[in-house]
């Protein structure tokens, strides 16, 4: 089967009556799971996989992958409207999304987010399709030395995220790195910072930490100041106004197509790298959007580009993440491990055999991502109106309801009461950080990348010796990192010089 034939067959299968209904149901299922804080794509897939036993291969793929593909879209809705990340990938959207809501521009933010998600997902899926002939080589490109250097590159984006106060950002990022050390060290079996607790020996789970830092912290904030979520827009927008705003938002995303494209490229590339995951991709994209915009001063105060960047990248991740699963049957993340076993249940073999004999199935995946996100975008827009009304409900009702949902989300991943405690502790920490103006985003990046850096550094040292950075590819990447960092430091110095004479600082 040639690639063109596979593409045609894959497309026809995806829109056929035998597959499309499953894809539709899967996408909506994923969207809803995404809207609920704490329930992630991983969770959506784990639920969906149990239904696969009776399904035909293409229908099963449409169902399970559709459910995974739309989760970030639903999560974006929650992030913008409720200051609560629906999934880990949406944490970066919190930097500008809620600020737009407070300005009464919730519709624009959601429209831009939905459109960016769709465009990003499409970009990632197309890249995956284009890479099919060289997929194996691309996946093998990233070994431990490359990942260490790339993770460092991603870490340097902390500098951009919190340029207003670099010292505080660095403190937060380092604290994040320290938090990543909690648990039994995979290499030496040493218990680190576990305080003798069995649960801490597993390390901190990402979902409750994110929920705590952002969602619970917002709830504490809302509770203490009273009022409603939408701070400066006490009147709920009318349905007609919301609709108009959504279309303006879509227009914004299309007008910033070049930014969408670049942030999608960041997402897809980070998806290809094993072990990095999609949460850092969105932050890196945010950093890039801010860095490259002339109006970067308004980021954090409700700049639509701060929504477009992360939302485009967190859906573009999907295409990249699928690569190693398809090329070798080796999953790059826990969600992909579930997908792989789903394919197994459906009787499909990944790896070279799939690349040679089942190209159509790969294209079913690609079209599932595209069509699923389109469905998510359209259905998501209908969800905006009822959900955005809820943002005007007063805190004394809203906070208890959302806290119950958040606690459920924290519990669901591992079925552990302990994780609710983690969310609460990080909620208090997040609130303190918010009040004292420490960057929670920087801390989260440090926390997420801490694992990747440490593990891959150890492996790189063991496999390639202490001079692993001197090999051509890692060296090239290291040079990029240093140049990027130097460029940032220079920008900071320049901005300071420029700002102080005008009296805007100090």
């Amino acid at each position: 089967m040639t690639i063109i034939e596979g593409m045609a067959s894959g497309f026809l299968q995806s829109i056929s009556l035998a597959v499309f209904p499953y894809l539709f149901v899967g996408s909506i299922f994923g969207l809803i799971i995404g809207v609920i804080p704490g329930l992630s794509g991983h969770f959506a897939m784990a639920m969906a996989v149990t239904f696969l036993y009776q399904m035909e291969p293409a229908a099963g793929i449409g169902f399970i992958l559709g459910a995974h593909a739309t989760v970030a879209q639903g999560g974006g809705l929650t992030a913008i409207l409720f200051s609560t990340p629906g999934t880990g990938q949406n944490a970066a959207t919190l930097l500008d999304g809620p600020a737009m809501r407070d300005k009464g521009e919730a519709g624009i933010a959601v429209g831009a987010a939905m459109a960016s998600c769709f465009l990003g997902a499409t970009f990632g899926a197309i890249v995956l399709g284009l890479l099919i002939p060289v997929l194996r080589e691309v996946v093998l490109f990233f070994g431990p030395p490359e990942v260490v250097v790339l993770a460092f590159l991603a870490l340097t984006f902390v500098a951009v995220l919190g340029k207003e106060d670099m010292t505080r950002s660095l403190i937060a990022a380092l604290l994040g790195l320290l938090l990543a050390m909690i648990g039994v060290d995979n290499v030496t079996n040493t218990h680190r910072f576990t305080l003798g607790s069995d649960r801490l020996a597993d390390g901190l789970q990402l979902v409750p930490v994110i929920l705590g830092l952002f969602a619970v912290a917002e709830m504490i904030d809302l509770w203490t100041r009273g009022g409603s979520l939408a701070r400066h827009a006490p009147e709920a927008l009318s349905a007609r106004d919301t609709q108009r705003q959504i279309f303006r938002g879509i227009g914004e995303a299309l007008r910033n197509w070049w930014l969408v494209l670049r942030c999608s490229a960041i997402g897809t590339t980070m998806g290809l790298i094993p072990g990095l995951g999609s949460a850092p991709a969105a932050f890196v994209a945010y950093g890039h959007a801010k860095q490259s915009s002339p109006d970067r001063d308004t980021f954090g105060q409700g700049n639509v580009k701060g929504v477009i960047g992360p939302e485009a990248s967190n859906d573009a991740v999907e295409g990249g993440a699928l690569a190693s699963t398809i090329a070798f049957g080796i999953p790059g993340s826990s969600s992909m491990a579930i997908l792989l076993s789903g394919l197994f249940i459906l009787g499909l073999d990944t790896g070279p055999q799939m690349l040679n004999e089942h190209v159509d199935i790969i294209f079913v995946m690609i079209f599932t991502i595209i069509i699923g996100n389109l469905i998510g975008t359209v259905v998501g827009m209908f969800l905006v109106n009822p959900l955005s009304r809820a943002t005007s409900i007063r805190a004394s009702i809203m906070v208890p309801v959302l806290m119950a949902v958040i606690a459920t989300g924290a519990f669901a991943g591992e079925r552990a009461i302990f994780d609710i405690g983690v969310a609460v502790v990080f909620g208090i920490l997040g609130y303190i950080m918010k009040v004292l103006n420490y960057s929670r985003a920087a801390m989260l990046i440090g926390f997420v990348l801490g694992f990747a850096v440490e593990k891959n550094l150890y492996l790189a040292l063991l496999l390639d010796g202490p001079f692993f950075v001197i090999q051509p590819i890692p060296l090239g990447l290291a040079v990029v990192t240093v140049v990027f960092l130097a460029w940032n430091v220079w920008l900071i110095i320049r901005d300071k010089k420029r700002l102080i004479p005008h009296g805007r600082r100090s």
Binding site: A46, G143, V187, A201
Partner: protein, 343 residues
């Protein structure tokens, strides 16, 4: 919130005691009819353990008359679920699948959190135990086991965490045969080791035949040593460890260690309940379990999805589990050192 939590906890406790403490003068068949059996899977949905569980659940329902609810309870490398099963009510309504071999090594090395005794579970039986194989990357330049021993180069063997089976296998067999190797551990999962082999970072790894098959079929990997006593077509050309053991300096000691290692692997993936299930109910469950694994429809489903089966009865499993935990002192010391990463 706290009060709400306490209330719901109280409700759950009340509900379980109502369900669990049912009448006594009942035959097991009556007891299980329309009852609910909770089946704990100590990993996320989507893994091999989950697959096997969901595959067999309908047949266990058919042969017990009860409904089987699968509950995924991941954590601590499968230990959280294993402890949960061990401590669950022993009325015969709680069972689960455990990673037997890993639970044995954790118990031997007295890993924190190993609050169970592998020998004390009430075993229903075993679905499968995976044959262990030693594979090399096709691009490693190593043709067979003899070549690996004689080429004068140190082979890089990849492994996951300390105490994991990929690690324990590598150091135990490496110790018995004096393999010239450097074990690099710290990979997240065995899939990452396979990628590293494709990249040429790692030469070889230990793993289950089931997960190695894909690489073998595609020509990326090659089996050079296996732990089976009987020949299997997939293993053609590779020697068995028991044959190689005859050529070591001290075949007697080698075989003794290999037999203990075999016992460890034979624990496989048993299905077990907590200690102390009433005898008649356990016998009923064991019987239903054997009927389920031998159900022609189940066997056909397993074959269709490429899942191996190697059933054992509950009584056999109890013996295997006891044998695996009751090792001679010097061998136990070797294993404990291997599990703790001191070799």
């Amino acid at each position: 919130m706290r009060r709400a939590f306490l209330k719901s906890a109280a409700a759950i406790v009340a509900a379980t005691s109502l369900l669990g403490g049912g009448a006594f003068a009942q035959s097991p068949a009556e007891f299980y009819k329309d009852n609910v059996i909770k089946w704990i899977v100590p990993y996320d949905p989507g893994g091999g353990y989950d697959d096997y569980s969901r595959m067999i659940a309908p047949y266990l329902e058919k042969h017990t008359g009860a409904r089987v609810d699968i509950v995924n309870m991941p954590g601590s490398g499968g230990m959280k679920g294993a402890v949960e099963i061990f401590n669950s009510p022993s009325d015969g309504t709680y069972v689960g699948i455990i990673n037997g071999s890993a639970m044995v090594t954790n118990q031997l090395a007295e890993i924190e959190g190993a609050n169970y005794k592998v020998g004390d579970y009430s075993y229903l039986g075993r679905i499968v135990s995976d044959p262990r194989v030693f594979v090399v990357a096709a691009n490693s330049g190593i043709d067979d086991f003899e070549d690996m021993q004689s080429d004068g180069e140190t082979a890089v063997v990849g492994a996951t965490g300390l105490g994991g089976s990929t690690y324990v296998d590598a150091v135990i067999i490496g110790d018995v045969f004096g393999i010239d190797q450097k074990v690099v551990h710290g990979f997240d999962r065995s899939g990452d080791i396979r990628t590293a082999m494709l990249r040429g970072d790692v030469d070889a790894m230990w793993g289950s035949l089931g997960s190695a098959l894909k690489g073998i079929e595609s020509g990326d990997h090659k089996v050079i040593l296996h732990a089976e006593k009987e020949d299997r077509p997939e293993l053609a050309g590779a020697p068995s460890i028991y044959d190689v053991a005859q050529q070591t300096e001290n075949p007697e000691r080698s075989l003794k260690i290999l037999r203990s290692w075999e016992a460890l692997n034979a624990v496989g993936r048993p299905v077990a309940g907590p200690p102390g299930i009433p005898e008649d109910r356990l016998a009923f469950l064991q019987d239903a379990f054997m009927k389920a694994v031998n159900d022609p429809e189940f066997v056909a489903t397993a074959a269709e999805s490429g899942r191996d089966l190697l059933p054992a009865t509950g009584a056999e499993m109890s013996e295997i589990a006891k044998a695996a935990t009751e090792l001679e002192d010097d061998i136990k010391a070797l294993f404990v050192r291997a599990i703790r990463g001191e070799i």
